[in-house]
């Protein structure tokens, strides 16, 4: 596959790459570069060289998944490039080509699909109190535990509409809006992407001999907890 031709179909690649002068300002400002093996300058340079083999290495590798998408690089680039947009186009291509399962970080897309991805279609929002416990999110701390354990009483006191069919925080989203979300996901490729992530992850899990089913199964735990990092 000609990866450069594929990237050129993504407006984020077009918008993100003008002419990189390799000054490294993006790497200097990047929060990810400081804490992981990630160098946006190098990634932009690789993509700018348009070497198909090198781009394939990016699509199969961990580095494109280390970006935090804070977009600090967009503000600072003196040439108007946006390394993060290039990352977004590489991540999409990694999933579309199925190469995401070749890297530890890429494989973790399954854990994201099974949490925030599924939450959107279950609750209408990416996050919902019922799904956030201190086993998965220990940093939530004792106050969250108290709030969650007493949520009916406390959320009522605070005026939220928890699980109720009326406006307000944490309400039950009307059926009409939930159907609209699902339908938009079906029409615009999100449903298909979810399916692809599941199917290719199942194949990889089988290869790695880790039990694969749905929800928080062994393969999910393996990715979420980082047993192989």
């Amino acid at each position: 596959m000609d990866y450069v031709e594929e990237l050129k179909k993504d407006f984020r690649y077009i918008e993100g790459l003008n002419a990189c002068i390799n000054c490294g300002v993006c790497t200097a400002i990047c929060p990810a570069a400081e804490v992981s093996e990630y160098d946006p300058r190098q990634i932009v340079d690789t993509v700018q060289h348009a070497d198909n083999d090198e781009i394939e290495m990016l699509l199969k590798g961990d580095t494109i998944w280390y970006c935090g998408e804070c977009l600090s690089c967009k503000t600072r680039c003196p040439r108007g490039n946006t390394p993060c947009y290039i990352i977004q186009s590489l991540r999409s291509l990694s999933i579309e080509t199925g190469l995401f399962i070749e890297s530890i970080q890429g494989r973790k897309q399954l854990a994201l699909k099974r949490t925030i991805g599924e939450h959107m279609l279950k609750y209408g929002y990416c996050v919902y109190i019922d799904e956030i416990d201190t086993e998965m999110f220990p940093e939530q701390g004792p106050v969250w535990e108290w709030l969650r354990d007493n949520r009916e009483q406390i959320l009522t006191r605070l005026g939220a509409s928890y699980r109720q069919e009326k406006s307000g925080a944490l309400r039950k989203i009307p059926e009409e809006s939930m159907k609209a979300l699902q339908s938009i996901f079906d029409v615009t490729g999100a449903t298909e992407r979810f399916k692809k992530i599941e199917e290719l992850s199942e194949k990889k899990a089988r290869e790695m001999k880790i039990s694969f089913n749905s929800g928080k199964d062994d393969y999910f735990r393996h990715l979420y907890e980082g047993h192989n990092d």
């Binding site: 407006f11 990416c126 999110f137 605070l158 406006s167 609209a180 615009t188």
Partner: protein
């Protein structure tokens, strides 16, 4: 005290409508700060007498999922188109969102449609096919903190308290933290631009506090989307917040304020985690530095009861800032449920004082 560069900041302005807003809730804020958005609606609607509509039909913008790489841009822009259609159906033209990630997403979608008109056409066709709806682009798009900034003088005029230490009489030292997606993507869409955003600093100046200008003032809180959301990648998040805390510590801030729901959460919770891991606290006398959102700070100054506006749901205790502001509060009411029902108090952490 005013800085000379404030005058420079004031040249970066944006249009903020005066009235009639369609309000969009945040995925994160309504969970971790479940009273904050209703407080915002009360301040804008009841205290300031503006018309703001809280639509039960509204949904996620999908921003967190998009920035985590699990859904295509085409899905996100069509969900945004659907939200605009809901705004149109409700009879509004001005869109105000609670989430900074959403604000970035809406801005991104609108700019994309401007530069790539074929993407707007694609979104219109997808929305029609999926829901049968059409939409008009909002006349005015703002983040909720823009509205508090716009009405900061009116809020000051109605306030019972100022950002003054009632014991010493000195201005309180306040750190402002602006969510990256408020202005780093499109500087012209934020008050003050990306390098010197004034949206929260303006509140500090107007309400009598003193800005803290520390080296890592503009550094990201460390959300990182997929980095925080996966336990195995979460070190990214705490490392970035820690970098900020260490940088601000020598300035002894009394308070941190933030406009992004994620940032407000991380700057609160990572203080608890760092204390548990390293026995380090950043506030005085074993407490953390209290973290408030723009609406929580406005609410306190206006005289709302801290426990009615949900400040007991913060992990870092807010009592130190309440005491400095001279706000009377009843500690016995802090952990009450509906109808003053009793709940067990949260467990006390081992290294950071909570009450």
């Amino acid at each position: 005290m005013r800085y000379s560069r404030n005058e420079v900041w004031e040249t970066y302005q944006k249009e903020i409508a005066d009235n009639n807003f369609y309000f969009a809730r945040s995925c994160i804020r309504q969970n971790v700060l479940p009273a904050a958005e209703d407080l915002f609606l009360k301040i804008i609607g009841t205290d300031l007498g503006k018309n703001i509509y809280d639509d039960a039909r509204q949904t996620t913008c999908t921003g967190i999922a998009y920035h985590s790489g699990i859904i295509p841009f085409e899905t996100t822009m069509t969900v945004v188109a659907h939200l605009f259609a809901l705004m149109n159906e409700a009879g509004y033209e001005n869109y105000a969102c609670s989430c900074v990630t959403s604000f970035g997403i809406y801005s991104e979608v609108l700019e994309t449609w401007k530069h790539f008109p074929e993407k707007e056409k694609e979104a219109r066709e997808a929305l029609k096919k999926a829901t049968g709806k059409t939409f008009e682009i909002p006349k005015n798009l703002v983040h909720a903190s823009d509205l508090i900034y716009k009405f900061r003088k009116e809020i000051a005029n109605r306030s019972k308290y100022r950002l003054t230490d009632t014991t010493s009489g000195l201005p309180l030292k306040v750190v402002d933290h602006i969510g990256c997606h408020y202005a780093k993507i499109f500087p012209e869409k934020g008050i003050g631009g990306a390098e010197f955003p004034y949206v929260l600093a303006g509140l500090i100046d107007e309400w009598g506090g003193q800005q803290v200008d520390y080296p890592e003032r503009r550094h990201c809180c460390g959300f990182g989307f997929r980095q925080y959301l996966l336990k195995s990648n979460r070190g990214y998040s705490v490392a970035n917040s820690k970098k900020k805390f260490e940088s601000m510590k020598p300035y002894k801030p009394d308070l941190i304020i933030a406009n992004c729901p994620g940032c407000s959460f991380f700057l609160d919770r990572w203080q608890y985690v760092i204390a548990e891991m390293e026995n380090t606290t950043y506030g005085e006398n074993g407490y953390g530095i209290p973290v408030l959102t723009y609406e929580e700070l406005a609410g306190l100054l206006l005289g709302y009861d801290p426990w009615d506006i949900g400040l007991q749901t913060h992990q870092v205790a807010v009592e130190p800032i309440l005491d400095k502001l001279g706000i009377n509060y009843n500690p016995d009411m802090k952990y009450k449920g509906a109808g003053n029902s009793n709940t067990d108090s949260p467990e006390q952490p081992s290294s950071i004082k909570m009450f």
